[in-house]
């Protein structure tokens, strides 16, 4: 059963609801229920955060290394260099997300038009 399993107008919406909405809101509702009963510093939550972060990190690499569309037509080295440049700029220039984004895009476009 995948996103493209059924050729009806409602299946994509049901898929999004089941795979994305319920699975996110259930944690929010549990958060309300637990209120202040749970310590944010518990080891179980540290484990949860490492897994969740590794998951999103996996998405990041795959979006850069195996992209689709227009990004796929650009050299893989350029994408990696732009990402590294953005991250280094973020780390060195006050840890502002916007700085990292702008730096990565500048390097990307510079490389795109120079090479």
């Amino acid at each position: 059963m995948t996103f493209h399993s059924f050729d009806t107008w409602w299946w994509p919406f049901l898929f999004i609801l089941l795979a994305g909405s319920l699975t996110t809101d259930c944690w929010r509702f549990l958060g309300v229920y637990l209120g202040d009963r749970l310590s944010e510093k518990s080891e179980a939550l540290v484990f949860v955060r490492t897994v969740a972060t590794a998951l999103v990190a996996g998405v990041i690499s795959n979006l850069v290394l195996f992209p689709s569309g227009a990004l796929a037509a650009t050299p893989v080295a350029l994408r990696i260099v732009a990402m590294i440049a953005g991250f280094v700029a973020y780390l060195c220039l006050g840890r502002k997300i916007i700085v990292g984004i702008v730096a990565a895009e500048i390097v990307f476009f510079a490389g795109y038009y120079l090479f």
């Binding site: 059963m1 995948t2 996103f3 493209h4 994509p12 919406f13 999004i16 609801l17 089941l18 795979a19 994305g20 319920l22 699975t23 996110t24 809101d25 944690w27 929010r28 549990l30 958060g31 309300v32 637990l34 209120g35 202040d36 749970l38 944010e40 080891e43 540290v46 949860v48 955060r49 490492t50 897994v51 969740a52 972060t53 590794a54 998951l55 999103v56 990190a57 996996g58 998405v59 990041i60 690499s61 795959n62 850069v64 290394l65 689709s68 227009a70 990004l71 732009a82 990402m83 953005g86 991250f87 973020y90 780390l91 997300i97 990292g100 984004i101 895009e105 990307f108 476009f109 038009y113």
Partner: protein, 233 residues
């Protein structure tokens, strides 16, 4: 009512600008993945957690099955729980109705959470639910407008611009994820996830995200436990 309006105005801020630029990238990604505009709007309004949304789209592209993808998204959204746990005592008063908190919890995501905790100091305790009811939905609406604009512009973009657009999502996550990590273990998890993602993508494309998340997170947590034991020993 006054505090509801102030909550709406609080959405005009630097964190919101960063969020909007991230959603420009997300809309480009969704458009490229072949999602229709109604599907993307629906997904954004009802999931409202960018990492989960990106995982959802990434999994749809790789043809992940519904249960595998639901599991992956729910793993990434677990972090909503401690965030809600932290914000509820800030908003709750003796008179607050339970259902109000459950409804408002849907709007909890990084940006509104950061803005709320930062601004709540200036909001009277019993007005904070009204304030958040203004702030949260306004951020969603702003992102929905961004998505509509990107969908309208995307077919006309030159390849260089749309390539740059697709780079927005990964660089936004790379920096924001690093910045939001409170402990070293999470930074380790991020590094292992970055390394394992492509490996699992080649080995088991159907379970690439789950594989990277579970193995990368477990290795990072193992190192964290090992280091802590050595420190206390």
């Amino acid at each position: 009512m006054r505090w509801f309006l102030r909550g709406i105005m609080a959405a005009v801020s630097v964190p919101a600008l960063v969020l909007f630029s991230a959603f420009i990238g997300f809309a480009g990604l969704a458009h490229e993945a072949g999602l229709t505009l109604p599907e993307t709007l629906f997904l954004t309004a009802f999931v409202w957690a960018l990492p989960g949304q990106v995982i959802l789209i990434g999994g749809m592209l790789s043809g992940n099955s519904l249960p595998a993808l639901a599991f992956a998204v729910s793993l990434s959204s677990i972090r909503m729980m401690p965030m809600v746990v932290a914000i509820v005592p800030e908003m709750r008063t003796a008179k607050t109705r339970k259902w109000v908190l459950y409804v408002l919890s849907h709007f909890v995501a990084v940006t509104s959470w950061v803005l709320a905790l930062q601004n709540f100091r200036t909001v009277p305790h019993e007005r904070r639910t009204a304030y958040y009811a203004g702030l949260g939905p306004t951020l969603i609406l702003g992102c929905l407008v961004i998505i509509i604009l990107v969908y309208a512009a995307a077919p006309k973009l030159p390849p260089a611009a749309s390539a740059g657009l697709f780079l927005l999502t990964p660089i936004y996550f790379l920096t924001s994820l690093w910045g939001s990590a409170r402990e070293k273990a999470v930074h380790l998890g991020m590094i292992f996830g970055l390394a394992f993602g492509p490996v699992f993508h080649i080995l088991t494309p159907q379970f690439d995200l789950l594989g990277a998340g579970l193995s990368g997170g477990t290795v990072a947590f193992g190192i964290h436990l090992f280091l802590r034991r050595r420190r206390t020993a």
